[in-house]
């Protein structure tokens, strides 16, 4: 579907010819994000350079009833930046300036196209850093992080994007501009800033973002322990939490992902059934006290080998394999499907056993690499698309894993988002009344439903007429099962 020449001209007049992409070949670049299974070629891509230009583009979309989606680096893993057919992509790639570094306030103000890592790089010489660290941090943008409420391995202690954004300038779906939050914290009124972050680009477009930066800790220490099984590693994680130790990160890799990572980046990991990485940061004496206890807990949970990084180089090596784990799976499998689900930390061992049983049932291998400290699983379902029926079986298995997550009181997604990918699964976790209440919020921001439609919420068009099975919400189960 293409736009009328008059309409294209209107966009050109508003933004300049150099800021418009309309050729079919070039438009294809924008057909998908990091989840490449969902592809829709947009009718037009615009590349604004300022808030005013974003506003102009949104106003044109609004006036001509064109659906639009904002796009950062396109690294999302839930199809959240997939365009709507006949719609417009508003790329924030050119809005990539760091506008202000205010060290005294501990704030950095950026445009949405600035990469996550660039923020830390801007303040590192002064002894500060930006805490959220998604694995894609070298390329993913702050605007995308705001849309997805991105986390990362270190959000266990320091929180997610939502805990580190203090102010947003947003262009609302109707073209108005609003300023949410401020440089100080705790402004009066309902937390519109908090609910905007993580709304997956459905409530508007953030055009200016003020972030909180933190002082680099006095000490960071990293331990790597090998275990006979993921269950033993999981028991150590429970032990650390029970001991009241606030770790900066706790990550587990199972045998399959460990072997793949080792073959790929040669991190020198021990041959083990699973490894656990624990990172502690903060006051040097506190870290020393806690590290002693973590070591003890690992040992009593049956650790076969324990290493503590002697320096930054060794610490980087511990993390290298972990960060390369997804990509490394290409060495052991033709294709793989990355799932993202959350379970209560106390149910980790049980859930891993159930996932293993599912793998046997479906005749597919499942690798597990996960943020154990916060119960965020990333099962990797391995398959080979050349074998008839395998892609479908892999997708089914990945969905069955999600059902386990919900069954034990967890979530459909810990960090990748719902996007287009899981919209039809939302009824597993939320009732019709829950979803309808969320839609009230959406309509307040976007009465015409033009801002990234087709994401988060199940629709008959996306999911067919049959609603998915409803399971009671965890809060409801914790209560007395009341539901209307």
């Amino acid at each position: 579907m293409s736009l009328s020449p008059e309409l294209v001209r209107a966009f050109e007049t508003a933004l300049g010819t150099g800021s418009i992409i309309r050729e079919p070949d070039e438009l294809k670049t924008y057909e998908c994000d990091g989840l490449t299974g969902y592809r829709v070629v947009p009718a037009l891509v615009v590349l604004p350079r300022s808030t005013r230009e974003v506003q102009a583009a949104v106003r044109l979309c609004h006036a001509h009833v064109l659906p639009f989606v904002a796009r950062g680096a396109g690294t999302g893993l839930s199809g959240g930046a997939v365009p709507e057919a006949g719609g417009v992509v508003i790329s924030l790639a050119r809005m990539n300036r760091i506008l202000e570094v205010d060290l005294e306030s501990g704030r950095v103000t950026v445009e949405p196209g600035v990469t996550n890592l660039a923020v830390t790089q801007a303040v590192a010489p002064h002894g500060f850093y930006y805490a959220p660290d998604p694995s894609s941090q070298q390329v993913c943008t702050i605007g995308g992080n705001v849309a997805e409420n991105s986390g990362g391995a270190h959000c266990l202690k320091h929180g997610f994007t939502v805990n580190h954004v203090t102010a947003l300038e947003v262009v609302l779906p109707g073209g108005e501009i609003a300023y949410l939050g401020g440089k100080g914290l705790d402004p009066p009124g309902p937390d519109l800033l908090g609910v905007f972050i993580g709304s997956e680009g459905t409530l508007g477009i953030a055009t200016r973002i003020t972030l909180r930066i933190l002082r680099k800790p006095e000490t960071v220490r990293t331990l790597l322990a090998g275990f006979g099984s993921t269950s033993a590693a999981g028991a150590a994680v429970s032990g650390v939490i029970a001991a009241g130790i606030l770790a900066g990160a706790m990550e587990i890799m199972d045998r399959l992902t460990l072997e793949a990572a080792e073959a790929s980046v040669h991190a020198g990991y021990p041959a083990a059934g699973a490894i656990l990485i624990v990172e502690l940061d903060g006051n040097a004496v506190q870290v020393e006290d806690d590290m002693g206890r973590v070591e003890e807990i690992c040992r009593s949970s049956g650790a076969t080998e324990i290493r503590i990084a002697a320096d930054d180089a060794e610490r980087a090596l511990f993390w290298k394999g972990r960060k390369a784990a997804f990509a490394a799976m290409g060495r052991v499998s033709h294709d793989y499907y990355v799932q993202d689900g959350v379970v209560p930390r106390t149910r980790l061992t049980e859930v891993l056993e159930r996932i293993a049983a599912l793998g046997r049932e479906y005749g597919l291998r499942v690798g597990n690499v996960f943020h154990a400290g916060d119960g965020n699983l990333h099962p990797l379902v391995l398959y080979d698309r050349r074998n008839a029926g395998e892609p479908e079986r892999a997708k089914e298995l990945a969905e069955a894993i999600l059902e386990i997550c919900i069954d034990v009181g967890g979530s459909l997604t810990g960090e990748h988002g719902i996007g287009a990918d899981k919209a039809c699964r939302m009824p597993l976790m939320f009732s019709e009344a829950d979803l309808e209440t969320m839609q009230r919020l959406r309509r307040a921001f976007d009465p015409d439903g033009l801002c990234n439609p087709g994401k988060i919420f199940p629709t008959p068009r996306l999911c067919g007429e049959v609603p998915g099975p409803y399971r009671a919400h965890p809060l409801e189960l914790a209560g007395l099962g009341e539901r209307f």
Binding site: E104, G151, G194, V285, V342, S411, M429, A433, M438, L475
Partner: protein, 314 residues
Amino acid sequence: MASVSRAEPRTVAEAAAALAEASREGRRVSIERAGGDVVLSTRGLDRVLEHEAGDLTATVEAGIRLSALSARLAAAGQMLALDPPGDPTIGACLAGDLSGPRRHRYGAPRDLVLGVTVVLADGTVASAGGKVVKNVAGYDLGKLFCGSQGRLGLIVRVSLRLHPRPAAERTLVVPVGSTEDAYRLAQLVHGSTLVPSAVDLLWRGAESRLALLLEGSERAVSAQVQAARALLGGEEAGAGVWDESRAWQERSRGRISFPPRGLVQTLGLYPEALARPLIGSAYVVEPAPDQVEAGARGLAERVRAAFDPQGTFV
């Protein structure tokens, strides 16, 4: 004129029925305060529904008071890291965005809420979020209801992130003589690797004090107190200063938000204030001017109209 009636639901179903009836009859509802034709109290909704110590999470009914919840959690060596003055309910903490000195390290209610169940004016019962510490499924309505002042809906259940209780805590109090002095000391803390749980400025001109709370293992706290004294001066003090700080906060009628760099200018406007200098908030004697920008205010009104179209909640 119809007389004011009281509603004291003991279950979510009763709360939903009471609100649906009030809406139908066009009666206005106020939660835990006077003002409505129906005054709704959550005192009957005060149970701990689940405390999963191994997950450091709890799900409670919104009418439970902080003191009752704290006592329950202390038995497991855990705490909800919210310490506002008085003994508010969890629902009030969210709706009023209440926090205390520990806000510096642990955050505001918005940072500790994992999920909520709310009842809208028309009796709709809706949940959002969840009970796990990491979750990005759906809109995070728990945050939206923080600071909502009871005007979007009734909060009935809340899932919360907990923290381990620190083994030791000690307090350092540093005398402060001027706005510049206050700023200098706050910046020293900001630029240091100290990890205080609270940094409060009890501002009263030439006789002001800066108080630091240091928590952790015995050894770590003692090392931090030493480092803090070397950096800032001052003397160790009892925990009384925190009671004083909370009392001060409680009798203040206004709260303002400011960039931490603007501390000097902000303090210059007030002869007295209880400030959290590195958070950028201060509690002042008189009600503060409305700092919300017009676009955000308009948006908040649209959200309110979507959740409570009849304007039932006052």
